[in-house]
């Protein structure tokens, strides 16, 4: 034991049992089969899948940031409102003749600074993340409406519309952005020093501190990343809708948390993955897509998502206990 080839062996031997122990993957496969059968094949058509991915790209992007925050044993309830604020800022600057680069940079900056602000309240002010980001949500919502007294902003320049509309090689740019943010998240969490810090801080803050990790910095950057993800999602939705809107569906925030939780990240922190979250978003997208294709009553949609959260989290925990 204890040499790398053995380690690799042991990982390999796990692969066949992955299906048996990974409820998300099982659920994903079952959903694919059920959806395909029920929709008489429409579900599996490339354009339907593409549609689905485009529709859920903003939630997917938010969820990547949310994952990092939840891995840190926190939560970000301000993502939805942050999106509204960034959407307004970007659109406002764009239509007032600041071109495209500056609005985008400022938009991302607003997201990052907002995240840093939440993070500071949490680390320095010792305010629980739930309350801090709830307050932040309220502030962002107010600021978003203040910019133009709540008027939506129309008439964005054509270059700005690229992110939500154009395709590269037949794939929507917003899907590519989601994939990039997702890969960036996976990369950041699994390949960088920072990622190791996130797991350590989320798993055991004291121990992380005593191992020389700058706990506050890790947390601050986590919330900043969540804010940046919200900003990127805001840019995509602004572009897709061709307007700056002070009101972005607040439900998106719940869906981003749901993606993370269905994706198997533990609310206690320290356990979970960005790849799981991406799968979680895809599962939510599939369920909604299936319900839409089947013309199922939209009222039961949030109930079904709720039930799925309960089931997956319970299965995850049972799995964790038996291990």
């Amino acid at each position: 034991m204890n040499n790398s080839s053995d380690v690799r062996e042991s990982i390999k031997s796990k692969v066949p049992s992955v299906l048996a122990t990974n409820p998300r993957l099982v659920m994903f496969l079952v959903l694919v089969v059920v959806s395909t059968v029920l929709s008489r094949g429409v579900f599996l058509s490339p354009s339907n899948i593409h549609n689905m991915l485009r529709q859920y790209s903003t939630i997917g992007i938010m969820a990547v940031g949310q994952t990092v925050v939840i891995l840190l044993a926190g939560v970000d309830l301000s993502q939805g409102s942050m999106m509204a604020l960034v959407s307004m800022v970007v659109a406002y600057l764009n239509v007032n003749g600041f071109g495209i680069v500056l609005p985008l940079v400022v938009g991302l900056l607003v997201g990052a600074l907002g995240g840093l602000f939440s993070g500071t309240i949490i680390t320095k002010g010792k305010v629980p993340p739930f309350i801090a980001t709830l307050a932040m949500a309220s502030i962002c919502r107010g600021l978003a409406t203040l910019i133009t007294q709540s008027r939506p902003i129309y008439g964005l320049s054509k270059e700005l519309l690229v992110f939500g509309r154009d395709t590269i090689g037949g794939i929507g740019i917003q899907v590519i952005i989601w994939a990039s943010v997702g890969l960036l998240g996976i990369f950041m969490i699994t390949r960088t020093v920072y990622g190791r810090g996130v797991y350590a801080v989320g798993g055991n803050e004291k121990s992380a501190h005593l191992s020389g990790i700058n706990v506050q910095k890790v947390k601050l950057l986590g919330y900043a990343f969540s804010g940046i993800c919200a900003a990127i999602a805001a840019i995509v939705i602004t572009s897709r809708m061709d307007m700056g809107g002070p009101y972005v569906n607040a439900n998106d925030n719940v869906q981003s948390i749901a993606s993370v939780v269905i994706g198997g990240t533990s609310f206690a922190g320290g356990r979970g993955s960005v790849s799981g979250t991406i799968l979680g978003t895809v599962i939510i997208a599939m369920i909604n897509n299936l319900m839409n294709l089947m013309l199922i009553n939209p009222y039961i949609q949030q109930g079904i998502i709720g039930a799925i959260i309960v089931v997956t989290v319970t299965l995850n925990q049972r799995k964790a206990r038996t291990e």
């Binding site: 629980p128 709830l134 932040m136 309220s138 749901a258 949030q302």
Partner: protein, 316 residues
Amino acid sequence: MFQNRTQIKNKVGSNFSGNIVLPLVFIAVMLIGALISPLFFSVQNLRNIIIGSATFGILASGMTVILIAGEIDLSVGSQVALTSVVMATLAPRSLTLAIFVSVLVTVSIGIVNGVLLTKTKMPSFVLTLSTMGIVRSIALVIGDGQPVYGVPRSYASLANASVGGIPLVALALVVIYLLTWFFLKYTTLGRSIYSVGSNAEAARLTGINVNRIKVAAYAISGFMAGLAGLYYTSYVTLGLPDGAVDYETEAITAAIIGGASFFGGEGQVTNTLLGFLIVAIVKNILNLMGVSPFVQPVAIGLLIIVAVGVRTMRKS
């Protein structure tokens, strides 16, 4: 260390200030209201404040119980909506039956929340986020997404009824808070909720059935959501399956400003009452001043950060 009298004094001092700050803030807010608008202290305005925010007030008392138990309940807003739908559906047949069924339903939801929590060991945030969606769906399906009519006029007029010039709901709030205070302070179950939230392991060692206490706390939260829903139904005079969205955050805000902690074992329902009144009055003042609706959320957000931040920083 006991000879260190200054230390003891400091302790007494901090306890003293802990109890006095909230009432002081409350008085300060009232004074500001009086200074800013002559309308503030009018009977009509005080009445408006109470009847307009009573739903949050009732929810906040239940939320305090849940927070003391060390958990959270995000499903209460949906429960209010469901109650209004159940009320509007059943009240035309029998008002008593409707009230009974409504409260039964929400208490059952509370019990289901509690049982799921203790059986699945899910974090309460995630669990009640899920039940929030499920309960909302049930309300929407029952009401077919549309307002449900049929609340009897007599019942609808209760929200505005007064006894000797005092709104009925103000009296109801006083009774609810007194009962909750009494329950938490003087009953064994109430004290057990504190114990479980304070240190679940120690509570278990002293023979408290921790799971049962948590279920009981959720049942109480459900009961309060039911009462809040009854009032809400009377206030809006019909069943609104998509109503009362985000009411849970209002309740949490009131409890947290009142000093309840996310870590359990702490909190006084009397302080929640003050917390809830402070938020309601601040909102009222902002309205009377004609502060732009766009600025109001910013003000409320800052209020939360300042209130909670100052307290936690003082503690540490």
